[in-house]
C-alpha cells in the first residue's frame, strides 16, 4: 500500500525515523517558507496531515496528537508512545516540591513536600547554593518554589548515572505596563476606601 494511502503505516515509519512526522510531511517539495519563517504548505496538504494524525489514533496507539476534527467526541485522551525521538531517559526515585524558607551565604533552607507520595509529612532540609544551576540562581529567594528530583539518567548508549536536580518554578514575568496598571488600580481602590 502506498504511504499516503495508509496513515497508520506512514505514522509508524515516521515515528521510527525520529518522529518528525509533521516536519517530514510539511517539508515536502510543495513547501516553502514565508517572510516570517512560517513553513507554508497548501491547505489541502495540511488538512490531510491533520486527518492522518486523527485517523491513526483509534487504529493503533502510535502516539501523536489525536482528535482535532472529532475533539468533542474523542475528548482529551492521548496516547503518547513514540512522540519523542529516542533520547536519554530519567527514572525518578523520589521527588519533592520545596519552598525556600531562608537564604544564607552558602546555603538555603527549604520546606519539602514529597511528590512521590511516600510520606505525608513535610520536612526541612538545607541545600548548598552551588547545587542550583546558574540559570535559576536569580530565582532563589524566600518563598520561591522549586522541585528536587533524585533518580537515574539512562543514556541512549546504555550508560546510567545517579542524578539529583533542582529546578525552580518559573512564573510569567509582569510587564511594566501590567505593573503600572496594577499600581493604578491599587491607588484607585485605596482612594475609594479612603486609606491614607
Amino acid at each position: 500500500m502506498a504511504e499516503s494511502d495508509n496513515p497508520v503505516q506512514f505514522l509508524q515509519s515516521a515515528t521510527l525515523s525520529d518522529n518528525l512526522y509533521l516536519e517530514k510531511k510539511l517539508r515536502n517539495e510543495d513547501s516553502s517558507t514565508d517572510e516570517n519563517n512560517h513553513i507554508l504548505t497548501n491547505p489541502k496538504n495540511l488538512d490531510d496531515i491533520i486527518r492522518e494524525v486523527d485517523r491513526a489514533i483509534p487504529a493503533q496507539f502510535l502516539g501523536t496528537v489525536a482528535g482535532t476534527t472529532n475533539a468533542n467526541t474523542e475528548g482529551t485522551t492521548l496516547h503518547t508512545f513514540g512522540m519523542f525521538s529516542k533520547h536519554d531517559s530519567f527514572e525518578v526515585l523520589q521527588k519533592w516540591e520545596g519552598a525556600v524558607i531562608s537564604v544564607g551565604t552558602d546555603s538555603f533552607v527549604a520546606r519539602l513536600r514529597d511528590l512521590s507520595f511516600y510520606s505525608e509529612e513535610d520536612e526541612e532540609a538545607e541545600f548548598p547554593i552551588e547545587e542550583i544551576s546558574q540559570a535559576d540562581i536569580a530565582l532563589l529567594a524566600p518563598g520561591a518554589v522549586f522541585y528536587w528530583c533524585v533518580g537515574y539518567w539512562d543514556t541512549v548508549i546504555g550508560q546510567r548515572r545517579r542524578a539529583s536536580e533542582i529546578r525552580f518554578r518559573r512564573l510569567p514575568t509582569w510587564s511594566k505596563m501590567q505593573l503600572e496598571k496594577a499600581r493604578k488600580e491599587a491607588e484607585e481602590l485605596s482612594e475609594l476606601l479612603a486609606w491614607k
Binding site: 518559573r170 510569567p172 514575568t173
Partner: protein
C-alpha cells in the same frame, strides 16, 4: 507482585478550546520568563504555522492546533515543570477559550514473566464468556473502563490497559483524567480550566498511582 516496575512514563496535559498555534514559540515563552535562556536557545521548532505548531524544549513537547493544546513530557521528573509551563502560558493568555482538560498518564510496566502477563489478562478479561466464540484460546488486546468523577467536578476518568509495544511481557496503562466546564461560555476564557489544573494535579497523580497498583495487584 511485589512492586511495580515502571519502565517508561509520560505525562501530558490536553486542553480543548480555541487556540492560536502561531503564538507558541520558544522565543515568546522565554520572553515571558517561562523558560531558561539555554532552553530557548536549544529548543527545537518542528513547525510553526497559523494552523499547527510543534516545539520541543528539552523533554517537553508542546503541540498546538486550532482546537487543541497539548503539553507532554516523557521525563516524570519534569511533570511539574510541564504543569507550571502550561499554567504560566494560560495565565498570560487568560482570554483563551478552553472548556475541557485532560490530565493523561501513559505508563509501561514490566510484569517480568509471561506467566504474570497472561495471569493479568485472565484476571481483567476472563475467558469463560468467550467460550464458543473462538476456537483457539483468545487473549486480551485492549480493555477500556470509564467511570464518572467522584470529586464533584464534571467529566470522567477513563483507564485503558493493553499489552506494551515497548516491553516484552509488559503492559501499558493509559489514564485520561478528564474535566469539563459545564455551561461554558467562550468569554470566560481559560481561568476555570487552569484552576482545575492547579488544584487537582496532585490528586490526579495519586489516582494514577493508585489505579496502577490496584490493576496490577501490587
Amino acid at each position: 507482585m511485589a512492586s511495580l516496575k515502571r519502565e517508561f512514563e509520560s505525562r501530558s496535559i490536553v486542553l480543548l478550546g480555541s487556540f492560536n498555534p502561531a503564538i507558541y514559540q520558544p522565543a515568546w515563552l522565554g520572553h515571558m520568563g517561562l523558560l531558561r535562556d539555554e532552553e530557548v536557545k536549544n529548543a527545537k521548532v518542528e513547525v510553526v504555522h497559523p494552523e499547527i505548531s510543534s516545539i520541543t524544549i528539552g523533554t517537553i513537547k508542546i503541540q498546538v492546533q486550532s482546537q487543541r493544546f497539548l503539553g507532554i513530557t516523557e521525563n516524570p521528573g519534569e511533570s511539574e515543570i510541564l504543569r507550571d509551563l502550561v499554567v504560566g502560558i494560560f495565565k498570560i493568555l487568560p482570554h483563551t477559550p478552553a472548556h475541557q482538560l485532560g490530565l493523561n498518564s501513559d505508563t509501561h510496566f514490566n510484569l517480568d514473566s509471561e506467566e504474570n502477563w497472561h495471569a493479568l489478562g485472565h484476571r481483567l478479561a476472563p475467558k469463560e464468556p468467550w467460550k464458543g466464540v473462538f476456537t483457539n484460546p483468545p487473549g486480551m488486546r485492549s480493555l477500556t473502563m470509564e467511570g464518572r468523577r467522584d470529586d464533584g467536578r464534571s467529566g470522567y476518568v477513563r483507564v485503558k490497559i493493553e499489552p506494551s509495544l515497548k516491553i516484552k511481557h509488559g503492559v501499558l496503562i493509559n489514564i485520561n483524567d478528564h474535566y469539563e466546564i459545564p455551561e461554558y461560555k467562550p468569554e470566560n476564557g481559560c481561568a476555570a480550566i487552569i484552576d482545575i489544573l492547579t488544584s487537582t494535579w496532585n490528586d490526579s497523580l495519586k489516582r494514577s498511582q493508585l489505579t496502577s497498583e490496584v490493576l496490577l495487584g501490587s
